[in-house]
């Protein structure tokens, strides 16, 4: 089911920059969609449209088959939560608890309901023990989690994130991505995430869209999109490391490959079968 439908939207900043030039995109309920693209291609601008923060100058966006214009902005904010890149822009309250409570409070909920939601959101992101900490006392990754909690406390159906892994160490990246995957698969939240880290995409995401100069160049599963190496290169991107390796093997060493393995798991499966297969019949282990 298409939960969010972007129909040919255009956007122009005050200074005349044409940031979106007719973007169309269908977002399915429950999917985990990545948005890739070079710097300045309009990823952030597109994300800001997805919850009505920016109004397109042309085209429209449908949320559950109804145009954004039929909703109040509060209704949209409630359904589509957005987390920006810099957590410091978003954590303005003195303590973690207060910050997460900010959204529910603005929804006009009762005190007990607010407390309930804050606790729930904080435990979802694993930050419950930090509820009374000052925001300044948190590490970068923890701040990121609190930002996500702040949005989750409004119980959105759709979560939009702008480069959530930028500036984190590898362990932090994995931890945030696991959190998102859990929110997506266990709690059924549709997630849309802009990122520059191509290696993450095949591992975590169902689909990806590639933006280029204010347009969507291609949408599809990682297998589909990454199979077109020329296009990836054109969009200033790269294949995931593993795919690059397999591509080199295919092109330079003429290894026959129908589809390019993109993740470690896939590559392993393929290589194992090749290595074993080559030993014609000896299907046992690889120990020589």
């Amino acid at each position: 089911m298409v939960i969010l439908q972007v129909r040919n939207i255009q956007y122009r900043y005050h200074d005349g920059t044409f940031a979106l030039r007719g973007v169309s995109l269908d977002i399915h309920k429950g999917e985990f969609l990545a948005i890739l693209g070079p710097n300045g291609s309009g990823k952030t601008t597109l994300l800001k449209h997805l919850n009505g923060l920016l109004k397109p100058v042309g085209g429209e966006i449908l949320l559950e088959q109804k145009s954004f214009t039929q909703y109040t902005s509060r209704e949209i904010f409630q359904k589509v939560g957005i987390v920006f890149q810099d957590p410091n822009d978003q954590l303005f309250a003195p303590s973690v608890w207060e910050d997460v409570a900010f959204g529910p409070m603005n929804l006009g909920l009762s005190k007990s309901e607010i407390a309930h939601r804050v606790d729930e959101a904080l435990s979802l992101v694993g930050m419950k023990p930090y509820a009374n900490k000052t925001v300044d006392a948190l590490s970068f990754g923890q701040k990121k989690r609190v930002c996500i909690a702040g949005v989750l406390a409004m119980r959105p159906a759709i979560l939009v994130l702008d480069e959530p892994t930028c500036g984190l160490d590898p362990a932090g990246v994995t931890s945030i991505m696991m959190l998102l995957r859990e929110l997506n698969s266990k709690h059924g939240i549709t997630i849309i995430m802009a990122t520059n880290m191509v290696d993450l995409v095949p591992v975590y995401m169902d689909r990806l869209a590639i933006m280029y100069q204010g347009n969507i160049l291609r949408v599809g599963t990682p297998e589909e999109v990454f199979s077109n190496a020329a296009e990836i290169k054109y969009a200033c991107l790269e294949l995931p490391q593993i795919a690059q390796l397999m591509q080199v093997l295919r092109d330079e060493e003429c290894l026959p490959l129908d589809t390019l393995p993109l993740t470690i798991g896939e590559a392993k499966k393929f290589l194992v079968s090749r290595l074993n297969g080559n030993r014609s019949g000896t299907a046992s282990s690889l120990i020589v």
Binding site: N51, Q90, A93, M154
Partner: protein
């Protein structure tokens, strides 16, 4: 980054000890009434009592003495200045006189007397304030101010400014180091110019950040309403007890403060 040496942090207030656990309203009551007594005191005994009591409290929660001394430094110098001015200006009875570079410096007894008195009040007052601030975080303070019906707008601004001062200080210190490493502070003139640039960058930063923060607040439903959510719990036994304790002690302190003595 030298200028960060004057900055501060609330690491001590964030610790968990018996003083930080005391309800902030009680602490505020204490702080305000003791400060008033300190102000009205007619002898040096009360301010010095406050000073030593504060030190004992601060030591009991293991605040490093250096941290206390650092915060007291400027007020102490101020107190000494007052002592000197008073000593030179007030009264008749000469206590000490000596020549410096051909000028005759005369220190007088009455002046030194009242200078010492004021100096002790400075020490007492500052130590009370430090005790309060070393045990209270800004978010608790905001909650207390709300309880005292300080207008919301002021509290929100207080919380907001406090939060972003640290962040901007960090950013500015990076810019400052970047300037320094390209010799932007090689001469006095360049330093002044670089400081202007730094201030300009700071204003631009603040403006952009304000916009982004507003966006982030807006998508969480902010339309110009309140920001702070925390309300303090109603008073419990502990708070009543400490409050009554204060009511009992206060008259004694007021009485002692009114004794005319050294």
């Amino acid at each position: 980054m030298e200028f960060l040496h004057h900055t501060f942090s609330d690491v001590y207030a964030r610790q968990n000890n018996w003083l930080t656990r005391v309800d902030v309203r009680v602490k505020l009551f204490y702080a305000i009434s003791l400060l008033s007594i300190n102000l009205w005191a007619k002898n040096m005994f009360i301010p010095l009592l406050f000073l030593s009591a504060s030190f004992i409290l601060l030591f009991s929660i293991k605040i490093p003495p250096m941290a206390i001394l650092r915060s007291m430094l400027l007020p102490v110098l101020f107190a000494m200045l007052i002592l000197l001015v008073k000593g030179l200006h007030e009264g008749e009875k000469v206590w000490l006189s000596f020549p410096i570079l051909g000028y005759k410096v005369v220190l007088k007894e009455e002046g030194l007397h009242s200078g010492l008195h004021i100096g002790s009040k400075v020490l007492g007052g500052i130590s009370l304030v430090i005790t309060f601030s070393f045990t209270t975080t800004i978010s608790r303070l905001c909650a207390a101010l709300k309880w005292f019906h300080v207008p919301n707008t002021i509290i929100e601004l207080l919380a907001f400014m406090y939060r972003y001062i640290f962040l901007l200080l960090d950013e500015v210190s990076t810019m400052w180091t970047a300037q320094k490493s390209r010799l932007g502070h090689a001469s006095w003139k360049k330093t002044i110019q670089s400081l202007g640039t730094l201030g300009g960058l700071l204003v631009m930063r603040a403006f952009d950040r304000a916009e982004r923060t507003y966006e982030a607040m807006h998508v969480r439903g902010y339309e110009g309403g309140g920001i702070l959510t925390v309300n303090l719990s109603p008073w419990r036994k502990g708070e009543y007890a400490s409050f009554i304790g204060m009511v009992l002690i206060l008259p004694m302190l007021v009485y002692t403060g009114n004794i005319h003595a050294w």
